[in-house]
Amino acid sequence: MAVFLVCVFSLCVGVGSVAITPVESLRIIWGKLTGRGNYSGLNPSLVSILWDIRMPRVAMAFLSGGALSLSGAVMQTILQNPLASSYTLGVSSGASLGAAIVIASGISLPVLGTFLLPVTAFFMGFLVIAVVLVISSRISSSLQSHTVILMGMSVSLFVNALLTLLSSFAGNRLQQLILWQMGSFSGMRWYHVKILTPICLSGLLLLVLHSRELDILSFGDENALSLGVSVKKGKFFALVLSTLLTGAVVCFTGTIGFVDLVAPHAVRRVFGTENQKVLPLSFLFGGAFLALCDMLSRSLLAPREIPVGAVTALAGTPFFIWLYVQGGKNG
């Protein structure tokens, strides 16, 4: 796994409109990390491309893929539905609506500056989930899975309708809005990585610590209760945490689908179902997958960029089907 990750990383850092060999990248990274950089014989622009543009971008893609897959794995487990993800519950619709409001209205706040868009998107995403959870808990006190899923889907359809309405008034800002929704890692800097890293790591740690409860919750409310798990508290905790993870990613990058579905399933297929293994491996695998997809999205038709969301689905679907066909033969 570690070897695989190093390979993915050097591939992602190296490939691009300006190719950088692994040796060169290692020299630059070593120099930057130790602070005793000796870049003789290297083009200074190469250093800045690698360190200031490509590295944060790869890191962001990795963290985002990891966070999305992690939250997908959790959602599938506690909602006992292999197709569930935080998107099902409307995080992305909420975040898109938030982004649309900022983009379409063109407002700006001096305090938040460039962060106005992600912050609004994040809070709108959270607001939608909060609405879904409040309505669901009114209907079923133990947050029954199908209630949560149904409410999530209807609320996100409603929010999507608002979004469509808003887009039709967006006029010349429409393209910017659509591009945001498709998701992209261009323009990611180190400060983005600094924000996302602690969120991802603490989320991963908390969820892995509670992996036993998550395992039990996958057997449904009645079983979980009789085994001694407080279902409502557990579900609420897991739902909020995975929403937080998705929200934090989506607000910076826009909507990127498919990773959260593919990565956990692939991991379960290969390594088994226990969440103690599935959660961290989904994080690593999803991260590597998204980093590779982002590398493809910026290098396939360089210098043009393909939306990374399209690449995840284009590359992910055949892989996913192959994995299932293989599994079917072996099992």
């Binding site: 036993r212 039990i216 057997f219 449904g220 009645e222 009789s226 001694g228 798990v229 407080s230």
Partner: protein
């Protein structure tokens, strides 16, 4: 069923597994105006520790609901005391250390192995040591699952699954077992083994995590009246959510009472196949 000696005073009483007073239960958010629409109506029971109680009655009588209410997993009105303490005030883990519920439905979503599924029973006791592995292994063997231990539960038959969830209830290591139709999907051999195992189990006692030792209490819902008789000392006959009769098996299963409940003449041989399970077990051993 004797009358309670305590006047509802809270306090530990390890001699009484359950005491139920004026229990009403209903599904859904709204309380039905008419108590006739409740699933359980004014149920009163005292279940001493070390006893074996069979719950019988026609479909929809509220048998499973009564078990769920005792396990504290559905909301109910009235009072339920578990070892003398109000069930509603207990933490989920405490309840799960005292009673294990094996329900009629076996949700199978993800492909956990049989052993992993059974290991989940150890959650309430919060340990992951050598002793837990021993208890899990013993439960697997008792349910005849040694050879299936590493198979994913998604690949099992209905009867095998029922044994997995039975093994899980055993592995919870509780002094009270609440079993909902424990033999409904089992073939004849496993029905006999289950009966034998439970008859042995109810003679044993269990040590709670806090060190107190309590004689085992078996509460089971059975449609097979003769199995119910073999497993239980006392029977409770439910109909339309009410307790119609309670007491020693032979008294409850009177021909006239069964006629009125099931609407048919239940012949005596259906009730006691000459200690069918016991003879079957005796012949095997």
């Amino acid at each position: 069923m004797g009358k309670s000696t305590r006047a509802g005073l809270a306090g530990t009483d390890m001699n009484t597994a359950f005491e139920v007073r004026n229990l009403y239960a209903f599904y859904g958010k709204k309380r039905p105006k008419d108590s006739k629409n409740m699933v359980l109506r004014d149920v009163n029971l005292v279940i001493p520790s070390g006893s074996a109680l069979g719950i019988i009655g026609p479909n929809g009588a509220g048998k499973s609901t009564l078990l769920r209410a005792l396990a504290g997993i559905i909301p109910s009105e009235g009072e339920i005391y578990l070892f003398g303490e109000p069930l509603a005030e207990k933490k989920r883990r405490e309840i799960a250390c005292c009673c294990a519920l094996m329900s009629q439905f076996f949700p199978v979503g993800f492909a956990y192995s049989v052993r992993k599924t059974v290991e989940m029973a150890r959650y309430a006791r919060g340990q992951r040591g050598m002793r837990d592995r021993i208890v899990v292994q013993r439960s697997l063997e008792e349910a005849g699952l040694q050879e299936l231990a590493d198979r994913p539960i998604t690949e099992l038959s209905g009867g095998q699954l029922q044994r997995v969830f039975f093994a899980r209830a055993l592995a919870q290591e509780t002094p009270i077992l609440l079993l909902d139709e424990p033999a409904s999907s089992l073939d004849l051999q496993y029905q006999a083994e289950l009966a034998e195992l439970l008859i042995r189990w109810k003679k044993r006692q269990t040590t709670l995590p806090d060190g107190r030792t309590v004689p085992n209490t078996l509460i089971s819902v059975c449609h097979d009246l003769s199995l119910a008789l073999d497993l239980s000392d006392d029977l409770v006959l439910l109909k339309d959510g009410r307790v119609l009769a309670a007491g020693p098996g032979d008294q409850v299963l009177s021909r006239s009472l069964l006629q009125s409940v099931y609407g048919m003449d239940v012949p005596a041989y259906m009730l006691r196949r000459e200690d069918f399970w016991k003879t079957l077990i005796a012949r095997e051993t």
